[in-house]
């Protein structure tokens, strides 16, 4: 039975539950759209209308693809842009204003949910559209007279996986309290589902091309348009994989800094290697520029336009140039070796360019204390990602290596990623360490601070000693100026009043600790105020206890483990489904099927060319 609670003149910001009015309004809206789409789909498949087919074919003619590829592809692109905007806006709202009043009380959530729902709907559209034909050689039988492209199924599965993350997130909040971090397990489901739907998109596009290639139908779109579509798909994947870094982009990471270069190199390894191998000359560079343009525009909308904290973004250009240069060597003809060496270059030289960029554009520049550990984590992940990027490109080109090798590479890559992330998540709090903070008033609700660490060795060679104030209507990250051994001072006034939560944060090697400077009373989670005093000496505690005050850290360990296991099983199911789909496509198409579209990529990798002139204008 559904329980409801009436909160009359309740305390500010309840810590869970959706307002029923919002639930009903959203249900009515989405229900209407679903019925409309279902009605259209049924009418299409029972041939009562040709509207859907004609519309899809019209889009298809412009992009040189069958309608069952073109229309869903456009829909996926628009849906993902919608969801991406929602995600970045949502993160900035949480950073600037704190927790939600409920899962539907935050306007950004609607963009995320509508975007993810439409990703699912786009996948289903690709499943429903093909009539009287087997849509490509890898299509899956639904009934005797209905076959669905495997790419459509993968897109729908990715969207469905992401959507399931939403109610699971609500369950999670009720079991463990609200986890105001991007890296909550259920939050990761939303991001992962959205990002990986682009693998389905890539598969669908290749199925469409394979279907067209077999018919002798001349494609209408110019080669440069086709090249651009592929670059956009891989650039989109780069965007999707980069969302995991968002806390670092805003300057409020809740985990060690050493994870950031690993994530950047991993995303670059997978997406840029695949882009160059699939798209041909200039595709890796094109994917990086696509990333910078789209993410840059959304950052500007979220920040300056909407007045929320502005996210920075990684550069990727250095890594893209390295991949383009590597492609000038004969290694290009051996994709797996190309992926491994490409990953190595991205993990080393590419990371150097990102390190320099971090001093230009990142709120928290990379420091020398993480150099060795950073390389030990980043290089293996980049190589693994490069190999997976090569596998992906070979899969959609119909020439996967033998299954034993493919599976070994995939499993080993997942293990490398798990080990690196596990190491990155391991952080310590120095025992008995404390900080004395002396505040000097600097305007209404603002103060300058002088800080003394005891012992001074807490921050020998720190990644940061900073004052962070957030969730009070904005974000202030002040990297403190060192004035002597263990002593620091603020470089600008920080808020210590109202709803602001102001912390002193120290990160040095594995040390990741914080101490409160000011925390407001929070009745909804039964938290007392930590007042801003003229002089206070407080001990360091794990950051999570201060940054995620809403978390219930007393939940039973078995429940935490079981809940994570559920998310893990769902995630592995999606990864296996994607691997199955890519493998199915690879087994059923002929190498070189796509040389009409990307003749340079095909020729330079030694793929058989089925005829048709090489078009130098492609890249």
């Amino acid at each position: 039975m559904i329980q409801t609670t009436l909160l009359l003149a309740a305390e500010p910001k309840p810590a869970g539950g959706a307002a029923l009015g919002e639930v009903f309004a959203a249900t009515a809206g989405v229900g209407f759209v679903t019925l409309l789409l279902l009605g259209l789909a049924v009418a299409h498949r029972t041939r009562r209308t040709t509207v859907l087919a004609r519309f899809a074919d019209a889009v298809g003619r412009r992009t040189g693809r069958p309608g069952w590829v073109a229309l869903p592809a456009v829909m996926v692109a628009l849906s993902l842009i919608t969801a991406l905007f929602g995600m970045l806006w949502d993160i900035s709202l949480h950073i600037g204003r704190g927790r939600d009043e409920g899962p539907l009380a935050n306007p950004a959530h609607y963009f995320i949910l509508v975007g993810l729902f439409l990703v699912f709907a786009a996948g289903m559209l690709a499943v429903v559209l093909p009539l009287d034909e087997k849509p490509g050689p890898a299509s899956v039988k639904i009934t005797k007279h209905w076959h669905a492209p495997v790419g459509g199924i993968l897109i729908a599965a990715s969207g469905f996986y992401a959507l399931i993350g939403f109610p699971l997130d609500d369950v999670w909040h009720r079991l463990f309290g609200q986890d105001v971090t991007l890296w909550g397990p259920t939050h990761l489901m939303l991001i992962t589902g959205a990002g990986l739907s682009l693998i389905g998109q890539l598969v669908l596009e290749q199925e469409g091309h394979a279907a067209t290639a077999g018919t002798g139908v001349k494609e209408a779109a110019k080669p440069i348009v086709l090249w651009g579509l592929r670059v956009a798909a891989l650039g989109g994947m780069l965007i999707g994989l980069s969302v995991f870094q968002a806390e670092y982009d805003f300057g409020v990471p809740q985990f060690r800094l050493v994870l950031q270069p690993m994530m950047i190199a991993g995303a670059a390894g997978l997406a840029l290697v695949a882009a160059r191998l699939v798209g041909g000359r200039g595709a890796a560079l094109g994917a990086a520029i696509f990333f910078l343009t789209l993410r840059g525009v959304i950052s500007l909308i979220v920040g300056p336009a909407l007045g929320e904290p502005t996210p920075s973004l990684p550069l990727y250009l250095g890594s893209a140039i390295l991949i383009e240069l590597l492609a000038l060597t004969p290694l290009l003809r051996s994709p797996m070796a190309f992926g491994a060496v490409g990953g190595l270059l991205i993990g080393t030289l590419g990371s150097v360019t990102e390190a320099i960029w971090s001093y230009v554009a990142m709120p928290l520049p990379w420091t020398s204390d993480m150099r060795v550990e950073g390389l030990l984590m980043t290089v293996p992940v980049a190589v693994a990602a490069g190999l997976c990027g090569a596998l992906l490109s070979m899969g959609v080109q119909g020439r996967l290596p033998r299954p034993a090798l493919s599976r070994t590479v995939l499993v080993a890559s997942l293990l490398v990623l798990t080990a690196s992330v596990g190491n990155g998540l391991y952080a310590t709090v120095p025992e008995g360490a404390e900080a004395t903070v002396a505040l000097t008033p600097a305007g209404e609700g603002m103060a300058n601070a002088e800080v003394t660490l005891d012992p001074a060795s807490v921050a020998d060679d720190p990644s940061w000693v900073q004052l962070t104030a957030w969730q009070g209507g904005g974000l202030v990250v002040d990297r403190l100026e060192r004035t002597g051994p263990g002593t620091y001072r603020s470089t600008e006034p920080v808020p210590v009043d109202g709803d602001w939560k102001t912390l002193l944060r120290v990160h040095d090697g594995r040390t990741l600790a914080a101490t409160p400077v000011f925390l407001p009373e929070d009745v909804a989670i039964d938290a007392e105020e930590v007042p801003a005093e003229a002089t206070s000496t407080r001990g360091f505690v794990p950051e999570i206890t201060l940054l995620q005050r809403e978390r219930d850290l007393d939940a039973p360990g078995w429940l935490w483990a079981a809940s994570n296991a559920v998310v893990l099983v769902l995630s592995l199911a999606l990864i296996l489904a994607l691997a199955w789909g890519v493998g199915r496509l690879s087994r059923r198409i002929t190498p070189g099927t796509f040389d009409d579209e990307s003749p340079i990529a095909a020729q330079e990798q030694g793929l058989p060319h089925r005829g048709g002139a090489l078009r130098p204008g492609v890249a």
Binding site: L8, A9, P12, G159, D170, R174
Partner: protein, 44 residues
């Protein structure tokens, strides 16, 4: 600021708007596949 709202205290309620329609669509396709395979078996 004060709030005067009725909150859903069951997670499934918040699943209604977006997840339930997706589940219904998946269920429909599943039912179509099941019926087709059953007809196949009967034909054989």
């Amino acid at each position: 600021m004060t709030y005067d709202v009725v909150l859903a205290h069951h997670p499934l309620v918040t699943a209604l708007p977006f997840v339930v329609p997706a589940c219904i669509v998946v269920g429909l396709i599943g039912a179509i596949i099941w019926r087709d395979r059953r007809e196949d078996r009967v034909d054989r």
